[in-house]
């Protein structure tokens, strides 16, 4: 059990943002938690699963985010408190149910935590989830520090129960994954009791059936709830102001940007001239509060990440109140003071501030910057985005690439997000030519597979992972089979949701809290649907390649499962299949016709081109001994030896 779960009320502890959210949920007495892994949100379910037994929680990794929200909503309808964390993409997946849920309303406190990823540090997009709050018309809270991450989460449950609707808490990577000091509150003792009551009158929110219909009635009710939310937000302690009474510039911000703004104002020595309005309740905005601060200054700078969501909302309020507070000059993303794309940091905020305020700012002394870059360059190994040593995906893409080249019909891979998105890079031999959302590879391949009548004869391969297969590929596979789309689905089955930290999925005989669970067999599912299924070990390069070529020449929907456990899996870690050696007498180095195939093309980080000997060598520190490279050396210079057990 994590130490900080034991900590008593009033103690200060160092918590990661996601841990603070967990602590807030626990202090709120949460009963049910359901989510799908996705950076930067994954630690929320993980930490809750660790205390599930002690805190009498039900915790699950659901098949996808829509299902996780449905699971959490069921708890709410039964009168329990529930939390549903996900990354920004997940909100898109859940949004269909979310729209209906916002209409029907909730019972027990229900909190959706969206962890956005500005800068796409661990994502394939910079998705903005805040718009969902406005679009679906539910309250939005944005913690500005670690203490607030805990306190706001706890309060979100109370707010949800007060308005009987779901509340969205939005975090970002820098908050979810950084750590800060948090003073703990009290953990409740009681265990919840679940009962779904439906015997009451049709429209009774506590005892009647639950539905978003009649729509007009519920939509009107939803707006009345939002009116109440505005009132509560006017008084919220999560909205704070620091700065002079009459600032030359008012900065309005939220979320982790609060920290960047404070630091930037300090760096520039502008604390006495510039005011900082930090908002924690960002939709719907409390109009009176915002108006009172807009009135203080003629110039307004809005600092936020991803889309100009807060800026737009503030400008609407300012326009509505212009007659009273005067015309304002706005700075932010739209005028270029703050970058439209990427993650912010104190430097970027300071750069914007310095321009508006006319104060000089140099982020770093030029000489120091140069020295720092040189030091970093000399000490850190230069590594590109690459698969880990021993990663089965490298072997899989090697065979996929080779098969497509041999096939010689300009075939291509419709990829997916996850580790295997590296298949678009030299690490995956640039096999992936198109990649979008989870499961979209097969959906796209279905489409390409139906273009034969228009003269398209390029074969398509769709790839997905084992977890993604359950998340979003199943409907696409049904479609491919029913529409008779000629395609090959390759499932890169590495036995876990690897990229986010080996969370279990329905294909594994274990659940989120470590108990045995029925395992859903991917191969049998595909076969039952009517696909031809072949299972291969991707480490067997030639057999895999030949299988792919054979399948590419067959019509209909084929599924190839390439099964090999992730090299970083806890089950695998530390175990070598082979001890790899390079026979220096056989490695011809520059004299070989191979033109550095192993280090230039195969590119496993465990292989190094030794500039001294002008030959390849094994980096014994990171080589995990998968043995695959032995099969790619044209001169047989890479040798597998049985590992010595220590």
């Amino acid at each position: 059990m994590s130490k900080w779960i034991e900590n008593k009320e009033g103690m200060r502890v160092l918590l990661m943002g996601n841990e603070a959210i967990v602590r807030g949920a626990l202090e709120a007495g949460v009963h049910v938690a359901a989510g799908y892994p996705g950076t930067p949100s994954s630690e929320i379910i993980e930490n809750l699963s660790k205390v599930a037994r002690e805190r009498h929680l039900y915790v699950e990794w659901s098949t996808n985010e829509k299902i996780s929200l449905e699971v959490a909503a069921a708890a709410s309808f039964a009168g329990l408190r529930a939390i549903c964390p996900m990354k920004q993409n997940g909100v898109n997946v859940a949004s269909d149910f979310l729209l209906h849920l916002a209409g029907s309303g909730t019972r027990g406190g229900l909190v959706l935590v969206s962890c956005d990823d500005p800068g796409a540090l661990s994502s394939a997009n910079e998705g903005e989830s805040r718009h969902f709050a406005r679009m679906i018309e539910i309250p939005l809270l944005e913690p500005g520090d670690f203490q607030e991450a805990k306190d706001m989460t706890r309060w979100a449950f109370e707010l949800s129960e007060e308005i009987k609707n779901i509340v969205m808490v939005r975090s970002v990577t820098r908050l979810s994954h950084a750590s800060g000091s948090v003073r703990l509150g009290k953990l409740p003792e009681k265990k919840g009791t679940a009962e779904f009551r439906f015997q009451g009158p049709f429209l009774n929110p506590d005892t009647g059936p639950v539905s978003s219909m009649p729509v007009a009635y519920h939509h009107d009710l939803q707006h009345k709830k939002l009116d109440r939310v505005r009132e509560l937000f006017e008084e919220s302690p999560f909205n704070t102001y620091e700065g002079p009474e009459k600032p030359e510039l008012l900065v309005i911000t939220s979320s982790a940007c609060t920290l960047y703004c404070r630091e930037a104002l300090n760096l520039l020595g502008l604390k006495d001239r510039v005011g900082l309005l930090k908002l924690g309740t960002t939709w719907p905005l409390p109009p009176k509060l915002v108006k009172s601060y807009l009135a203080k200054a003629g110039k307004i700078l809005i600092v936020e990440e991803v889309i100009s969501f807060l800026e737009d909302s503030v400008k609407i309020l300012a326009a509505e109140q212009a007659a009273e507070i005067g015309i304002k000059t706005f700075y932010g993303k739209n005028d270029g003071s703050i970058p439209m794309i990427g993650e912010l940091n104190p430097d970027l905020v300071a750069a914007g501030l310095s321009k508006i305020m006319g104060v000089p700012y140099l982020s770093m002394d030029g000489a120091y910057e140069k020295e720092a870059q040189e030091a970093a360059g000399s000490l850190a190994p230069g590594r590109e985005l690459n698969f880990c040593p021993g990663c089965p995906h490298r072997a899989s893409f090697w065979s996929i690439h080779k098969a497509l080249q041999l096939d010689n019909r300009q075939g291509f891979v419709c990829g997916d997000i996850g580790c295997y998105s590296l298949g678009a890079l030299p690490a995956g031999f640039q096999s992936v030519k198109i990649a979008h959302a989870m499961g979209s590879g097969l959906g796209l391949a279905c489409g390409f597979g139906k273009l034969g009548d228009f003269g398209m004869d390029q074969p398509t391969i769709a790839v997905c992972g084992d977890s993604t297969f359950f998340h979003a590929v199943l409907p696409a596979l049904v479609n491919a089979i029913h529409q008779e789309a000629a395609t090959l689905l390759i499932i890169l089955d590495n036995s876990g949701t690897a990229m986010t930290g080996f969370q279990p999925h329905p294909g594994l005989p274990i659940n989120a809290v470590g108990q045995e669970a029925p395992k859903v067999d991917i191969a049998r599912v595909c076969e039952a649907m009517g696909a031809k299924v072949v299972i291969r070990d991707p480490f067997n390069l030639e057999e895999t390649r030949a299988t792919i070529n054979a399948l590419l020449e067959q019509g209909g929907v084929k599924v190839l499962i390439l099964r090999q456990i992730c090299a970083l899996s806890p089950e695998k870690k530390g175990k070598e299949d082979y001890r790899m050696q390079i026979d220096e007498s056989r490695c011809l180095g520059d004299e070989c016709g191979c033109n550095h195939l192993c280090t230039r093309i195969f590119r496993c980080p465990g292989l190094i081109w030794d500039k001294g000997t002008k030959k390849s060598r094994i980096d014994e520190v990171i080589c995990v001994g998968c043995g695959v490279c032995a099969d790619i050396c044209p001169n047989g210079a890479i040798m597998r030896e049985e590992p010595v057990s220590l």
Binding site: K402, Q405, L406, N408, C594, N595, L597, I632, P634
Partner: protein, 378 residues
Amino acid sequence: MSDTIQGHGQAALRTRVRETKFCTACGACVNLCPYQAYYQDEVVTLHVCDLQEGRCFAFCPRTATDLDSLRARLFDPQDLTPEIGAVKDYSICRAADEKIRRQAQHGGTVSALMSLALEEGIIDTAVVAQGGDRFTHQGVAVGEAAEVRKRGKSKFIAAGTIAAFNRAAQSDSQKIGVVATPCQALALAKMRMKPFPEKDNNIDKLKLVVGLFCGWTLSWKKLIPLLKTRTNLEEIVGMDIPPGKGQVAVFTQTGAIAIPWEEIDPLVREGCRICLDTTAEFADISVGSARLPEDWETLRSWNQVIVRTKTGQDLIDLARKKGILEFREVPAEVLEELKKAALNKKRTALKTIMEKTGTPEDLIYVDRRDSVICRILG
């Protein structure tokens, strides 16, 4: 083609030979490195090689070739003819052993000569083409005469034979004989020039090249769908071109199927349409089907043979001495007919080349100043 691609490596080979579809799938660029492969009937790039100069480019029969230098290096100048290359000796013959003939396309001369070369230790390895899965073909190295005889039929589809030679040359084989089409023989001849002396030691293992007369090969990917409209692939036992009929005969277990030339012509590889060589001019000895005044059934059991080098002469003399081949008299007009046909092919190919490049100054892989080209174009 104009010199738009820098270097003489894989990139140039890819742009100038494969993307232009001039590639004959001879296999010369395969198995020298891990970057090219032969599959079905195509040579493909597996990965990008960034070397600016490579054997792949140098050996390719469709990259710039100094044919006069090759002739000077390989043949006796007095044997050279403009139409069919060096001719030391010309004969009509066939395998004396009727069993060999039955396994062969025509007279079984190639099988008999390669078997003899193996049995006499002139070579220890024979590189020949063999049929594979679903009518594909590929080169294979064999060490036994019986293995050569099993692979006697004409293929009509590229077999990438030189890829198998490259592999055999890196193996323990010391004396290698190759049965080669004209483009394959040209690739081997270019190898013998050793443009990369430090990497070309293995070419000295090449002891014998038996050339095959060749008019064209067909694209496998295009041929298979056509054949499937006429018969089951499994039932096909052979193919041939009956002279003067304007059709290709496909022999099945239940009889012959005639396919009109109009249907076959679109299947011919583009790389074959620019080929100047009918008779495998860069072989030691070249063998083709006989063109005689008699009926087809009779002439199908005979070959015509051009001996080009001393190696070729020694082998055929040995075959004659040992009674392995039987000879018949050569009608006076036959050689002239062959020369005429070969010259026609050169003219047609040159016309096609000039249509592609738009100028007689750019002849893709041959030099405008070449002595034979000068004889034809003036």
